[in-house]
């Protein structure tokens, strides 16, 4: 402590600044940690705090502590602290690091947390190369919950859930996380170290410092796996436990550097992050700025007529069913009408049938669902049969086919049945059949200004050749409708 009454002395060893002087977040015994005598966590904590001090990154360090014996990291570290759910620290750390690229983010995890419940999170954080340092304390057991088996429990090792010792046949083999993650391309540095003796401990300190240094330099994902004693659960003395780390654990989990790309990463140029745009640029970037939206042609709309167009459009996927509906809705909006467009979605989008609901009205539209259309555009017979019974009396069915099935005829429902796809060939491409049918719909509806239709086509169709072709197809559709009426 700094307030020693002895005036004339030299401090050679002091508690790290990155530890709180007194652990006030603890409810009792605030001068000591919650760790058992001989536990490795205390040593690892001390090394992390020392590395933070040495690198001078205390203010920008954020430590993510998960569940297990490591759950109370926030009691001790005088850094930004985020407590996370069991196994999820790498996901939490991912977002901390992404939103605060300049911060030093440490995910401190035990073996149950990291290897079992959090196995997906650690794998994918490593594979994305998140700029986080993971300190992985492996003591081959679930300690906090009283000694159940972990994925890292050694073969033959007894635990409360492997009372006869871990068997490969039923519990599989100890999981080698460092080796596993070292097969990925993104991580910069992965090393397994131990706390089995002083030499190992010194190497652990160096490894932890390297991981944090990599983090501070923004080099990417680093992981240090620490083989750590748990005398209480292992039912050993601290000395025996250290010995067991050195003599037994290490045989299953060999120490060493499994991946080190530090030099290569340091040499590689780092891409500069794109500057964030100013707030007033956002509406334009999002495509919602008034200045970029068309004025529309509401002035060209005939004022008197009641408009309540309820259209159902159906056909095979790929026939342009949804686009037909979209052009109609876009044109309606351009003309100042209330509109809605609702597609069928899901697997239907990928094959088979497709349909959409379109409404155009002067008044606010109550429901976008068209259960009783006054216009049905059926681009094939199955679609006709699916919806023909729903068409209102006085309404229209526009059908792609020369022959209209006699059993689909209904009193009071008008029919226009023509081989639209074949006729579309006349425009130069039979794929324009949807637009020929749209032309018929527009002609029978008779409300939308030409300018609105042109505007809708230009808004929805990028290729000018297709716009021109579709315009001709619409004209053809209008003519076909007129001819049929005559």
């Amino acid at each position: 402590m700094s307030s020693s009454p002895v005036a004339d002395y030299t401090v050679v060893h002091a508690k790290s600044r990155s530890f709180y002087d007194r652990y006030e977040r603890k409810t009792e015994l605030q001068h000591q940690t919650h760790f058992c005598p001989g536990c490795g966590h205390g040593i690892v904590h001390k090394m992390i705090a020392a590395a933070i001090d040495e690198l001078g990154v205390q203010d920008r360090t954020i430590l993510v502590g998960p569940v297990g014996c490591s759950v109370f990291t926030y009691y001790y570290f005088d850094v930004g602290n985020v407590q996370a759910a069991h196994g999820r620290a790498p996901a939490v750390a991912t977002a901390v690091s992404r939103s605060l690229p300049g911060s030093v983010v440490i995910s401190y995890q035990g073996d149950g947390d990291l290897c079992a419940i959090g196995s997906a999170e650690i794998l994918h954080a490593a594979n994305r190369g998140e700029n986080i340092a993971v300190i992985f304390v492996n003591n081959a057991i679930y300690s906090m919950t009283g000694g159940q088996a972990a994925p890292t429990t050694l073969l033959g090792q007894k635990s409360t859930t492997t009372p006869l010792g871990r068997k490969a046949a039923t519990e599989g083999y100890p999981l080698h996380v460092s080796e596993l993650l070292a097969t990925l391309q993104a991580p910069v540095y992965i090393e397994r170290v131990g706390l089995g003796d002083n030499k190992q401990i010194a190497q652990t300190a160096r490894a932890i410092r390297r991981a944090l240094e990599n983090q501070a330099r923004g080099l990417g994902f680093s992981l240090v796996e620490v083989l750590s004693p748990c005398p209480t659960i292992w039912e050993m003395s601290p000395v025996e436990a250290q010995h067991w780390v050195r003599e037994t654990m290490e045989k299953t989990f060999p120490l060493g550097v499994f991946r080190d790309q530090t030099k290569e990463r340091l040499a590689a140029p780092k891409p500069e992050p794109a500057p964030s745009p100013a707030l007033d640029e956002l509406p334009r970037i999002l495509g919602v700025a008034d200045a970029d939206l068309p004025e529309g042609n509401a002035h060209a709309l005939d004022a008197g007529q009641t408009i309540d167009l309820q259209v159902r459009i159906a056909g095979f996927g790929g026939q342009g069913v949804l686009l037909l509906g979209e052009v109609l809705a876009e044109a309606g909006l351009d003309a100042g009408l209330e509109v809605s467009w609702l597609p069928s979605y899901g697997p239907e989008m990928r094959s088979g049938t497709s349909n959409c609901h379109v409404r155009l009205a002067r008044e606010a539209i109550d429901s976008p669902l068209v259960s009783a259309p006054n216009v049905l555009v059926a681009m094939n017979e199955p679609s006709l049969r699916k919806f023909d019974q729903s068409v209102r009396r006085g309404g229209w069915v526009i059908f792609d086919g020369e022959e209209f099935p006699a059993d689909c005829r209904r009193e009071g429902v008008h029919v226009l049945a023509l081989p639209f796809t074949e006729l579309a060939n006349g425009t130069g491409d039979k794929r324009a059949a949807n637009m020929v049918m749209l032309g018929a719909v527009l002609e029978l509806a008779g409300v939308l200004p030409e300018a609105s239709i042109a505007a809708a086509l230009r808004r929805l169709i990028r290729n000018p050749r297709w716009v021109e072709l579709d315009e001709r197809a619409i004209v053809l559709g209008r003519q076909l409708f007129q001819r049929a009426l005559a």
Partner: protein
């Protein structure tokens, strides 16, 4: 402001970014994927973060991380994904972290299907995670509301330091309607509780763990006080023609749109029908329902589930009025004709036909039918 045609799902993202959201973490699922796709396009271009997570479990925990550093963050999913997020939602409520979660609902249980249901009500409104917590839930029924309520959701999330769910059915997510956006983008100040990687915020802690019993109780009471405050201040409902209604239809999301058409038609048939549409599902508009019940004789709840919100309606009525129920599930929706017929049957059974004589009713119905037949293009 000018309007443009846009899908509800896309409107959510644009509104979120204008409201200062700078992080999106998600996992693809139909019918919510357009939200992730729009976020993938626009987040990086507006100074935000987009990550496609390895699972919904990871996604919600990434939201936890983003919210911890004081960033407005959101995700989007559908029933099966929301189930996986419940753990993280509980942790965020416990750690008092704001975020916005869009649930574009589909069919269930299990893999269910991609059709629209409203069977996520219980898991979202009652809270599918562990512990005494609530999520505020808003239920848009149009594309414009997808935009407007998204912005509101971020404000509520920050005000109450709690997750807010925007629950919309697949129809509202997939429908395109005209929508307008504010022309001014906002970016809220960094909250003073955030762990922001600075000297000033070094002492901050994001945590849901309270080992000491008394401390845990205090924390739980604090959360409860917030929910009570939300119940006082954030209850939202839309009413239409309830002033003199004898029969009140209750529905949210796409159903409320259908019920609006039904209300108009039922009125044309001479029935005194009104519509009460909860906009906030938690807090639920209990007081409004109780007030409307002073005049109304009967309630009809319509849901795309076998009856989940109906429990809240019944609780609000405390048994004082009968509640009838109509539903379709599996992706099917009752047409307004179906609902109208149901309403007329109930009205006839209960004698709620405004005291008209049978010939008068028949004449009204004939008129309505003729009008329908006349309904030309």
């Amino acid at each position: 402001m000018r309007k443009q045609l846009m899908k509800g799902n896309e409107a959510i993202v644009k509104s979120a970014i204008l409201a200062g959201c700078r992080a999106f973490y998600g996992y693809p699922i139909t019918p919510a994927s357009e939200i992730a796709e729009a976020a993938a396009e626009f987040m990086p271009r507006t100074g935000g973060v987009y990550v496609q997570a390895e699972s919904e479990v990871a996604a919600i925990n990434m939201l936890y991380g983003a919210a911890s550093v004081g960033v407005r963050a959101m995700t989007a999913s559908s029933g099966p994904g929301i189930s996986l997020m419940q753990e993280g939602i509980s942790y965020m409520a416990g750690a008092e972290l704001p975020c916005v979660i869009a649930d574009i609902t589909r069919g269930g249980p299990g893999l269910g299907n991609l059709g629209s249901e409203q069977s996520d009500y219980h898991q979202v409104v009652k809270g599918g995670g562990h512990g005494s917590y609530r999520t505020l839930v808003l239920a848009p029924n149009s594309v414009q509301e997808m935009a407007d309520l998204t912005a509101l959701a971020f404000d509520l999330a920050d005000r109450y330091r709690n997750p807010v769910v925007l629950m919309a059915d697949g129809f509202i997510g997939q429908t395109m309607e005209p929508v307008e956006f504010p022309q001014v983008a906002t970016l809220p100040q960094l909250p003073d509780w955030a762990v922001a990687g600075t000297a000033a915020s070094r002492g901050n802690l994001i945590n849901s763990l309270h080992i000491d019993f008394d401390e845990m109780e205090q924390h739980s009471l604090l959360l409860e006080a917030k929910y009570k405050e939300a119940e006082r201040n954030e209850t939202r409902a839309e009413e239409w023609r309830t002033e003199d209604a004898e029969i009140v239809l209750v529905g949210y999301g796409i159903v409320s749109r259908i019920l609006k058409a039904v209300t108009a038609e039922a009125r044309a048939h001479g029935l005194k029908v009104g519509l009460l549409r909860p906009v906030s599902l938690y807090p639920f508009p209990k007081a409004r329902i109780a007030q409307v019940a002073e005049r109304a004789k009967l309630f009809i709840v319509v849901e795309l589930s076998h009856g989940q919100m109906i429990e809240d309606v019944q609780l609000a009525l405390r048994g004082t009025r009968p509640v009838e129920f109509l539903s379709r599930v599996g992706g099917n929706v009752p047409t307004h004709e179906d609902v109208l017929q149901f309403v007329r049957q109930i009205a006839s059974r209960e004698g709620l036909t405004q005291g008209r004589t049978a010939p008068e009713r028949e004449s009204l119905e004939r008129e309505a039918l003729e009008k329908e037949q006349m309904a030309h293009v």
